[in-house]
Symmetry: D2
């Protein structure tokens, strides 16, 4: 039977892949078993964050030493920049292994287990970024990845991580300005927004998005989408994670929605639900990975109190938001290598976000 493995590994710099190299050298994970690698890198997470591209180039060099080029291309690499506050740069390596045959001594685990798969859409035209065409491509990609992962139902999907492209001056010029926005920073938000609405549609959380709704109608959102935009790709890379009876092993995944940026109880409850036998102070040793989205609440307040994230011209609001949500979660879970990704347009309610 298929079995999921997750390795969370420290990173000393965006090009430090030594921990992954050591994992391969140890023989515990073979390069060909890797499905996806998520990286939380230490750039600003905005337009000119080259730590994502640097990390990706470094991963490709490492994998290229083991795998054929087309197999390297098949590994989904989702880099998310920004380790504000106390967040710790790290890799999450998702691998698919083969569970040993069950025997009298080691009977097959019963019940479903963590399952995942990744797909990449075709490259987008700059004109499609942040528009319904992108949402439709992502929707179809979610279905394709579910099939690949043998996740049977929409409700069994607990997280969809999407890496999507953004606009640059060159790309805008390449389509003669026929784009959703002329502003490069804004294009990151619209691209994330379109991706999230594609997930929402796939999972039955929202109807197909119209142009006017993308990045505007915050009543539409997915409880399981997490999108992150980067300059280094033109397609959308989609990693679907969920529970499947076709997989076995000790790992499980669940999700919750933080209703605002400081909703620690939602996370405490999630831990309680998924593993009621683990006392809170042991969470840090039992949680294999945390994926969460963060954003500044667009109305400028948190529980009625003004925040300054949207007025700060020195520091992008996404940087503020990652620091804040990283702090809230680190307080609950007791560790800082959390995959907190900024910009949660249509990913959870306004000011809140999904956590898995």
């Amino acid at each position: 039977m298929r079995s999921a493995r997750v390795d969370r590994l420290a990173m000393d710099a965006p090009d430090d892949v030594s921990a992954i190299a050591a994992l391969f050298a140890s023989g515990e994970v073979a390069p060909e078993q890797v499905i996806a690698i998520l990286g939380k890198t230490e750039g600003n997470g905005c337009v000119n964050d080259f730590t994502r591209g640097f990390a990706t180039q470094s991963l490709r060099l490492l994998l290229g030493a083991h795998l054929a080029p087309e197999r390297v291309d098949a590994v989904s690499m989702v880099m998310s920049g920004g380790t504000e506050g106390g967040l710790s740069p790290h890799w999450l390596v998702l691998s698919e292994t083969q569970a040993p045959e069950s025997s009298a001594e080691a009977p097959a685990a019963s019940g479903p287990s963590l399952a995942f798969a990744s797909v990449a859409t075709r490259p987008l035209s700059p004109s499609e970024i942040g528009r319904p065409a992108q949402a439709a491509l992502v929707r179809d990609g979610v279905y394709a990845a579910m099939a690949k992962a043998a996740i049977a139902a929409e409700d069994d999907v607990h997280f969809v991580q999407i890496k999507c492209p953004l606009l640059t001056s060159d790309r805008i010029a390449a389509v003669a300005g026929d784009v959703a926005t002329q502003e490069t920073l804004k294009s990151m938000g619209l691209s994330r927004a379109a991706s999230a609405l594609g997930v929402a549609e796939a999972l039955g959380e929202a109807p197909p998005a119209t142009q006017a709704q993308i990045g505007t109608d915050w009543t539409l959102w997915s409880s399981r989408a997490s999108a992150s935009a980067g300059v280094e790709l033109m397609c959308c890379e989609i990693v679907v994670m969920g529970m499947s009876s076709a997989w076995t092993g000790p790992l499980a995944i669940a999700h919750a929605v933080m209703r605002d940026a400081i909703d620690a109880p939602a996370v405490q409850q999630l831990l309680q639900t998924i593993a009621p036998e683990v006392p809170p102070q042991e969470a840090s040793t039992r949680v294999e990975g945390v994926l969460v989205k963060a954003e500044a609440s667009p109305e400028g307040t948190i529980r009625g109190l003004r925040h300054t994230m949207l007025q700060d011209s020195d520091l992008a609001s996404t940087r503020h938001a990652r620091a804040l949500v990283g702090g809230v979660l680190a307080g609950v879970i007791g560790r800082t290598d959390l995959f907190v990704s900024g910009g949660a347009e249509h990913q959870g309610p306004p000011g809140g976000g999904p956590v898995a």
Copy 2:
């Protein structure tokens, strides 16, 4: 009997004193009852943060409309810049009122209550900033403020907030370079350090500091000091808060030490200790004010995981640290108007800090 009152009021901008003006207009607090005003303002909290001075000037204008100039000078105004993450700019107005005579219907409360008083040291010479002379001045100031507040013992002191000066190019030149450091940003840290060690000495937590220890020997620290440096003053303003039997009323204060930046359990325990009858989810409605210090752990890690606060040349580590600790506390307490002050040299253990 003396009685303490704390008003936590929102601020729309550093010069927005309208909520305090309204408090005076309501008759609930008279301007002459005000002992100290703490302000969390939305600047960068570093050298060129003029929001502190702007807030102070605005407060002085407001108070000057009600009080004689020397009485305005007697009000301690401690502005702390930086509302990173989700922190909300706000004022904490500390007033001393007179408790009504006890009667059959309203018997006098038994036991000690919150008490506070403020003093200002003489102006420092730029040569004294960050040196033992500053620590000694602060130590004497703590004793003077305890006497003023009728706080009987060192153990009854739960928080000492100090506002202290920093060096600028002009000030360094004025003493011909005879200063603890030539670097203005670094002088903020040394000034906070000397202040904290003065408190530690006063409260019996550490011996008198030598020059070599200030800003260096992190084994010396106070569990109750909070120092904040600003360009707008040359003296040290000291507000001592504690419990006193000479005061009455419903308010109490207690303190704890966060051993690192994500030590949420220390805060949960403190809430439990001071008010065991209040369920956690009601903390946000019962806590009248939160005072806490934050800093990036100097060794570059939190519980063994690397943070990037000290390597980030775009964003000062104090800004990262306030965002992080603000998130941890907001998750526990459920609100964001927390007085999180950056730069915790000798204020709690390295990477941690006192909370009251």
Copy 3:
């Protein structure tokens, strides 16, 4: 006869008005003679730049000690934040004095001289900011100021400095979202744009602007407009400067247009034209004040070479642009107390700007 005086004075901090106080104390300028005070302050020049408000409050306190409140209100105070690169914070005090009667020894100067006057429009509704209504108000204000300054013809106007309001979350909410943009930083640009097009219309440089043109159609621009947006006012303050035969004295004003951000020759030529007898190396001692607008060229290049101002999420493009243009001008003129103001929408050609 009327006579113009310009005092350029250093500022040690946004609230340092000591040099102006000294000017008054010296008797050389009386407070009632002050028409306008421009201040280049050391904030970030963006939404959360409180140095402008702090400087204005400090100026009002100083003037209020000499003048009646309504007379203080009549002094135009135009603060522009941002001293990136080597720019030096300074005040430009514009006063109207009375020229001494001409005599045999001191005959009246012949020909026109520097003249100026200021007006303020009525407060704008947040809904008017960045829209044609603002442009129309500014246009009428320019005519009113020309009349006040006895500047006879549009061609005699050489600079129009406008301070205009921006949108904040509160202001957007106050008009239920009926605004030109929901984004506060963007509102600064639209407000400057509408102001500039109002000047362009007044001076016959462009037809009345339509909504669609404001902030979009860069073929429309004024060669003499300089607009700066700030949170501290809701009206537009307009200072018109030009040449008038009704004024006398040694000062003159002229303007040129930098066709791009590095167009030093335009400035060299302007100096040559206005004072052909002054050798270049003496410019720094003869120029009494320099007013200029700067912006990142919207197409992302300067003379065909890519710049990174619009991709830098750590540093606003207006900050880059002020530093750049400040460097170009400091190289030509030999001093750094230049009033370089960022954001040159419709103020000079795209990427360039007017200089006076």
Copy 4:
């Protein structure tokens, strides 16, 4: 005879080596002819600037496709981060070609021509960074590179570009804290300082530096050193450029010293001296490359006027300084692809810097 070639090529991102690939593909330059590649990349130029490492890795990948690994190692790659203001990211590829035999139609050029060579020192221990040991290594490296380039005399050297290492938390820990400074950002300055004093010693401009002088005694400086620190190497890479009779061709190099950051006349004079027949407005078409150092004047003023570079906690002074000097030079030369490198400790007089 040996002949120098310089190609200045645009870069769309730190990993965009396409223009160099095209140069190789064109056959005009062979990969084995490349001596050094300088890159001006668009990071912040400070501790966490990964654009330098990303560019270097990308260059190595490109060269590695053409050359053996040890030959790739022999190419000096000097990346300098920071394109503030209007600076344009670009590569400077220095190659050594063979001049064609002279003939009747094309007689050998007479007189000396541009010559260059590069060497790398051994790796430094973290304990050596910013100390006399580093200066001595650089001094010896300069002599070695002069010999390699056949530059006969110290006076024929016009620029020495050094890339040197910096301290990180890990490196400090590796030598148990026996380092010149505990502060990573400060270590960049000390490393540049030690390198520059090594050049000054080699060129007879200053005696061997003592520990106390490095980063302190600004009366010691080289008129031809340019040092840049980066996290991606532990040795010092040294490129010496000068004039040599052993080389032929149309290129020449000369240097001048800007006495402060706005010393445009020094650059105008240099252009005039090296090519008196070229009118100023043609400089942009005749200058093949500009190398210059920039820094904030340590006393806080430029020609007596205060600058704010050293008080700005949002923006490192090196970023301000590059923007400023880039503006000054772009005004003179008329283009923005200038190799302006920040941090000019002992490289030119305080606040000024060498330009070649």
